[in-house]
Symmetry: C2
Subunit: 156 residues, 2 copies
C-alpha cells in the first residue's frame, strides 16, 4: 500500500510517501510545496503541486492532518488560511477518486512517538528511525511522513 | 465581459453568471451546488460543480465573496469550513487560469443596494431589479449574482 501523507499549510505544505507492507515501511519520497504571491496563486500552487505528486506516485490513500484549533486561543484568520490549503488538497485528491483519511496531530504523535504531546524534533527523530533515513527531512515533510506512518500502523 | 459570482458555503455554494457591457447587464444563469456526505465528498462536489459551471459558461473573471469573520464572535470551526469551500473554488478557478477578485459582503451590498448593511431580502430585490428577473433566485444564488453585479459596476 502506497500512502501519501500531507501536512497542509498556506505557505509550506509538506508531503511524504511511503510504501507499507505489513510491518515493513519503505520511504519513497518527500518534499515541500512552497507558495508565494497572493491568496489565489498560493492556493492554486498547492492544488497543482499535490496533483503532480499524486500523478507521479499514484498513492492508494492520502492522509491529511486534521485541522487543530486551540479552543483557548481562537484565531479565525489562521483557521480560514489553513482551510483554504486543506480545501485545495481535498479537491486535488477527491477529483482523482483517491481515498482520504484524517488524523489529529495528537493521534499522529501518539502513534509515531508514543506521546501525543511530543515535540517536533522527537517526531522527526522517530520518522528517521522508522524509515531508516540518514538525514532528517524538512520539518513539514517530516510531519507529513509521520501522518503516513500513523496510517500504516493503523492499517496493520 | 462574462462574470461568474460565487457565494461559497460548505453545504450550499451559490453561483450566478452575468454578461456586462458597460451599463447593460444581462442575466445568463444562476444556481446552487448542494453538497452531502463527509467533508471530502462535500469539498470534491464543490470543486467539480464549479469546474462544470466554468467549462459551460467560460467566464472572463470569477468574483468570490471575501470571508467575513465577526471579530466579536470568533468561530474557528465555521472559519475552517468556509475556508475548505473557498479553497476548492479557488483551485477550480486558478487551475483554469481564470482571473479572480474578492469583495467583502459589505462592499457588495453597498454597491448593489446602496447600503453596506442591507438585509438579504433587499439584496435579492435589487438583484432582480438590476437584471430584470421576474422571480427571485434562491438566496445563495442571489448573493452570488450580487457579487457579479458589484464587479460589473467596479469595472465601469
Amino acid at each position: 500500500m502506497k500512502i501519501l501523507g500531507i501536512d497542509p499549510g498556506s505557505r509550506i505544505t509538506g508531503f511524504g510517501i511511503i510504501e507499507a507492507n505489513k510491518l515493513k515501511f519503505n520511504y519513497l519520497a518527500s518534499g515541500c510545496i512552497r507558495t508565494q504571491g497572493d491568496l489565489f496563486e498560493r492556493i492554486t500552487t498547492i492544488f497543482q503541486g499535490i496533483g503532480e505528486v499524486i500523478e507521479k506516485h499514484q498513492p492508494d490513500v492520502v492522509v491529511i492532518e486534521r485541522a487543530f484549533m486551540r479552543p483557548d486561543r481562537p484565531n479565525p484568520d489562521a483557521a480560514i488560511k489553513l482551510g483554504h490549503a486543506r480545501g485545495a488538497i481535498i479537491a486535488a485528491t477527491g477529483s482523482r477518486n483517491i481515498a482520504m483519511v484524517e488524523y489529529s496531530p495528537n493521534q499522529i504523535k501518539k502513534v509515531v512517538v508514543g506521546n501525543g504531546h511530543a515535540a517536533k524534533k522527537q517526531v522527526s527523530y522517530m520518522v528517521c528511525e522508522t524509515l531508516k533515513l540518514n538525514k532528517a527531512p524538512q520539518e513539514d515533510a517530516a510531519d507529513a511522513l509521520a501522518g503516513a506512518i500513523c496510517h500504516a500502523y493503523h492499517c496493520l
